[in-house]
C-alpha cells in the first residue's frame, strides 16, 4: 500500500524524515494526540496525588515530588500516594498496549484480552488462591499471573491449526472465557461470606493500598517488554494486511505473532496481578486512541498513553464521587469507558463515519 495515498484517505498529515539510508514517517496527528494524552495522564496524576483525606494543592505536590516538600507532605506523597499512582499509570499503559496488540492480531475490535479470556483466566487463578488456598496478597498475585499466562498458552495452542488465524483465536478465546466465567461463578458460590467480598473486590480491580512492592516488578516487566513490542510494531502493521501480503513483504508471520502475543499476555497478566482485572481498559483504550489519532495502524503507543490516562482519571473520579477508598477503580473504568465508547459510536454515526 502506498503511504501517501493512505494518509490522504484517512485525513492525517504525515511527515517523512530522511537521513542517509534511513527514512521514518512521522504521523503528525498521532504524535500530537500522544503528547496530549501524556499531558493529561501527568496532570491527572498530580491531581490524584493531591486527592484524599489529607488534600494537598497541586503546586505543593509538584514541589514535594521534586524533593522540596515538608516532612509530612514528603511521607504522604512519596510513601503513600505516589506508588499507587505509578501502579495506576503502569497498569493502564500495559493494559492499553496489550489490548492494542490483541485487537490488531485478531483483526477484531472485540479481540481484547478480556474477551479472549485472559482476564477470566487470571481471575480463576486469583480466586483459587483466595477461596481454596486462602492465601495472602502475594499468593493472589502469583495465582493471577499463573492463571493468565496458562490461559494465554492454552488459547494459543487450541487456536493453532497450521498457524493461528485471528478469527479462530477470538472464537477459541470466547469459549475459554466462558468456561472460566463458569469456574469463577462456581468458586464464588463456594466461598465464605468474607472471602466472597474480598474476591469481588479483587475481581473489580482496585488500586487501594498499592505500594512500592507492586511498582518495581511491574516497572521491570514494562521496561523490558514495551521496547520489544515497539520494535515489532512495523511488522504488526504489515500483519494487518493479511498473512500472505505480510509474508511477501518479508515478515516472519508466525514468529512475529508469537513474540507479540507472548509480550501482550505477560503485560496483561502482570497488570492484572498488580491491580486485579481492571475491566475494559484493554478493550476501550485502543478503540479510543484509534478514533482520536484517526490512524489505521495498531496505534500501540497512543493506546498505552490512553490506558494510563483513563485509569488515573477513573481512579480520581472514583475517589471524588464516592470518598477515598470506598469504591475500587474498576467500577469506574467500566462505567466511564463504556459510556465514552457509546458516545463515540453515536457521534460517529451522526457524522456518517461508520
Amino acid at each position: 500500500m502506498n503511504a501517501s495515498k493512505r494518509t490522504a484517505k484517512s485525513g492525517t498529515r504525515g511527515v517523512t524524515l530522511r537521513t542517509a539510508g534511513l527514512s521514518l514517517r512521522l504521523d503528525v496527528r498521532g504524535a500530537v494526540v500522544g503528547l496530549l494524552l501524556i499531558a493529561v495522564a501527568l496532570v491527572m496524576s498530580v491531581v490524584l496525588i493531591g486527592t484524599g483525606d489529607f488534600p494537598i494543592a497541586p503546586a505543593d505536590v509538584v514541589r514535594t515530588l521534586l524533593g522540596n516538600g515538608t516532612v509530612a507532605q514528603d511521607f504522604i506523597v512519596n510513601e503513600l500516594r505516589l506508588p499507587r499512582v505509578l501502579v495506576g499509570l503502569l497498569v493502564g499503559a500495559a493494559l492499553g498496549m496489550g489490548g492494542a496488540i490483541f485487537q490488531s492480531i485478531s483483526r477484531n475490535p472485540l479481540g481484547s484480552p478480556d474477551v479472549i479470556g485472559l482476564g477470566q483466566g487470571a481471575a480463576a487463578g486469583a480466586l483459587t488462591a483466595i477461596v481454596l488456598v486462602k492465601g495472602d496478597s502475594n499468593a493472589v498475585a502469583t495465582g493471577a499471573v499463573l492463571g493468565g499466562v496458562l490461559t494465554g498458552l492454552a488459547v494459543y495452542a487450541l487456536a493453532w491449526r497450521q498457524g493461528v488465524h485471528g478469527y479462530r483465536l477470538v472464537l477459541v478465546g470466547i469459549g475459554t472465557s466462558a468456561t472460566f466465567t463458569a469456574v469463577n461463578g462456581y468458586l464464588l458460590t463456594q466461598a465464605r461470606h468474607e472471602d466472597a467480598a474480598r474476591a469481588v473486590m479483587w475481581l473489580t480491580g482496585s488500586l487501594n493500598g498499592r505500594d512500592w512492592d507492586q511498582v518495581w516488578p511491574l516497572l521491570a516487566v514494562c521496561a523490558v517488554l514495551m521496547p520489544v513490542v515497539l520494535g515489532q510494531a512495523p511488522n504488526l502493521r504489515m500483519l494487518e494486511m493479511g498473512d500472505d501480503s505480510a509474508y511477501a513483504l518479508g515478515v516472519r508471520v508466525e514468529r512475529t505473532r508469537m513474540v507479540l502475543m507472548g509480550a501482550a499476555v505477560l503485560l496483561v497478566a502482570s497488570a492484572t496481578a498488580a491491580a486485579g482485572p481492571v475491566a475494559f481498559v484493554a478493550l476501550v483504550a485502543p478503540q479510543l486512541a484509534r478514533r482520536l489519532t484517526r490512524s489505521p495502524g495498531p496505534n500501540l503507543l497512543p493506546a498505552a498513553w490512553m490506558g494510563a490516562a483513563l485509569l488515573v482519571t477513573a481512579d480520581w473520579a472514583a475517589q471524588r464521587a464516592f470518598g477515598a477508598d470506598q469504591l475500587p477503580v474498576g467500577v469506574l473504568t467500566g462505567m466511564l469507558g463504556g459510556a465514552y465508547l457509546l458516545w463515540l459510536l453515536v457521534t460517529e454515526r451522526r457524522a456518517g463515519r461508520i
Binding site: 475459554t176 463458569a182 462505567m335
Partner: protein, 349 residues
C-alpha cells in the same frame, strides 16, 4: 471483515435432492423430540432421591399423594417444565439474534441483555428490598427490555453492522457491570443474593415462577418461529432482501420483541444462563444448513435437551448437593464450542 453471514454454512446439505433433504430433516426433528422426551423423563427421575421410571409415570398420571408423588409433582415437574421452557427460549433467542445481526458470535450475553437484567435485579435487591425470586422476575424482564432497545438504537438500528452492534453491546455490558459491581461492593447483603442468582439455576423453580414467565416464553416462541421466512431474507443482505419485497424494519422490530420476550423471561426465571443461546444455533446449522425455517424448530427442540441434560448432570456429579445448571452448561458448552471452532468448516463460517 471477518464476520460473514451464516448463509454459507451447510453447502453440503444443499447438494442432496430436495425431497430427501426434507425427509431427513423431519426424521432428525422426530429423533430430537424423542431424545428430549427421554431427557425430560430422566430429569424427573434423577436427583437426590432417585425415582424409578414406572413410579414417575404413576406420579404424573395417577397422583396418589404418596411421598414420591409429592416430590414429582411439586419439585421435579415444575423444574423440568421450567427447564424445557427456558431452554426453548434461550435457543430460539440465540438463533434469532444471530440471524438478525448476521453475526455467528451474537448471543444475549454479548449484546448486554444479561447485564441489563443483572443491573435491574441488583437495584431491586439493594434499593427496593426485593428478596424473593418471584419479585426479581419483573425487574429482570424490564432490564432486558430496556437494554435490548438501547443496544439496538445505539448499534444504528437501520445500519446495524455486526461489529457496531457488538461494540454497542459490549459498551453497555461494561457500563452496567461497573454499576452492578459498585452496588455489590457497597451492599454486601445484596452481593450474597446476587452471587447465587448470577450463576443461573433451575433449583428454585416452582409453579408461581412458572406461571409468571410461561406466557411470555410461549408468545415469544411462536413469534420467533413465525419469523423464520423473513429472517431468511435478512441473511441475503439488506439490498437483496428489499429487492425481494421483504419489510426489513418490520422484521427487525418483531425480532427484537421476540428476543426480549424470550430472553427476558428466561433470565427472569433462572438467572443469566450463558452459552445455550450461542452454541445451540451453531450445532443446529451444522445439521440443517442455513434455512431459518428449519433452524428455529431444531433449536427449540435441542436447546432444552442441552439445558435439561446439564441440569441432570449437575444433580449427579456432586450428589446430594447440586451444581447450578448455568455452571454446567458452560462447562460442557465451552469445550464443545472450542472443538467446533477447531473444525475447519466451523471456523470458516
Amino acid at each position: 471483515m471477518t464476520l460473514v453471514s451464516p448463509a454459507k454454512a451447510g453447502t453440503e446439505t444443499a447438494s442432496a435432492p430436495p425431497r430427501w433433504r426434507t425427509a431427513r430433516r423431519v426424521t432428525g426433528l422426530a429423533v430430537s423430540l424423542g431424545v428430549l422426551l427421554a431427557i425430560a423423563a430422566a430429569s424427573i427421575a434423577i436427583g437426590a432421591k432417585p425415582i424409578p421410571l414406572d413410579q414417575v409415570w404413576h406420579g404424573l398420571f395417577h397422583y396418589s399423594g404418596s411421598d414420591t408423588d409429592v416430590v414429582i409433582r411439586d419439585v421435579r415437574l415444575p423444574r423440568t417444565i421450567l427447564g424445557l421452557l427456558v431452554g426453548v427460549g434461550l435457543g430460539l433467542a440465540g438463533a434469532v439474534i444471530q440471524a438478525l445481526t448476521r453475526n455467528p458470535l451474537a448471543d444475549p450475553g454479548l449484546l448486554g441483555l444479561n447485564a441489563g437484567a443483572s443491573a435491574a435485579v441488583v437495584s431491586a435487591i439493594s434499593f427496593l428490598g426485593v428478596t424473593s425470586l418471584t419479585g426479581y422476575v419483573w425487574f429482570a424482564f424490564l432490564g432486558t427490555a430496556v437494554v435490548s432497545v438501547l443496544v439496538y438504537a445505539l448499534g444504528g438500528s437501520r445500519s446495524a453492522t455486526p461489529v457496531r452492534l457488538a461494540l454497542a453491546g459490549t459498551a453497555v455490558y461494561a457500563a452496567l457491570y461497573g454499576y452492578v459491581n459498585a452496588v455489590e461492593l457497597l451492599d454486601t447483603a445484596a452481593l450474597d443474593k446476587m452471587r447465587f442468582w448470577t450463576v443461573g439455576s433451575l433449583a428454585s423453580a416452582n409453579m408461581t415462577v412458572l406461571r409468571q414467565v410461561a406466557p411470555f416464553l410461549l408468545v415469544g416462541a411462536v413469534l420467533a418461529v413465525l419469523l423464520g421466512r423473513s429472517l431468511n431474507a435478512v441473511a441475503l443482505g439488506d439490498d437483496t432482501a428489499r429487492a425481494l419485497g421483504s419489510n426489513l424494519n418490520r422484521t427487525r422490530a418483531l425480532s427484537m420483541i421476540a428476543v426480549t420476550l424470550l430472553c427476558g423471561a428466561a433470565t427472569a426465571a433462572c438467572g443469566p444462563i450463558a452459552f445455550v443461546g450461542l452454541i445451540v444455533p451453531h450445532l443446529v446449522r451444522a445439521l440443517t444448513g442455513p434455512d431459518m425455517r428449519w433452524i428455529l424448530p431444531y433449536a427449540a427442540v435441542l436447546s432444552p435437551v442441552l439445558l435439561l441434560g446439564a441440569d441432570v448432570v449437575g444433580r449427579l456429579v456432586t450428589r446430594p448437593a447440586e451444581l447450578q445448571v448455568g455452571v454446567v452448561t458452560t462447562f460442557i458448552g465451552g469445550p464443545l464450542f472450542i472443538y467446533l471452532v477447531r473444525r475447519r468448516r466451523m471456523a470458516q463460517l
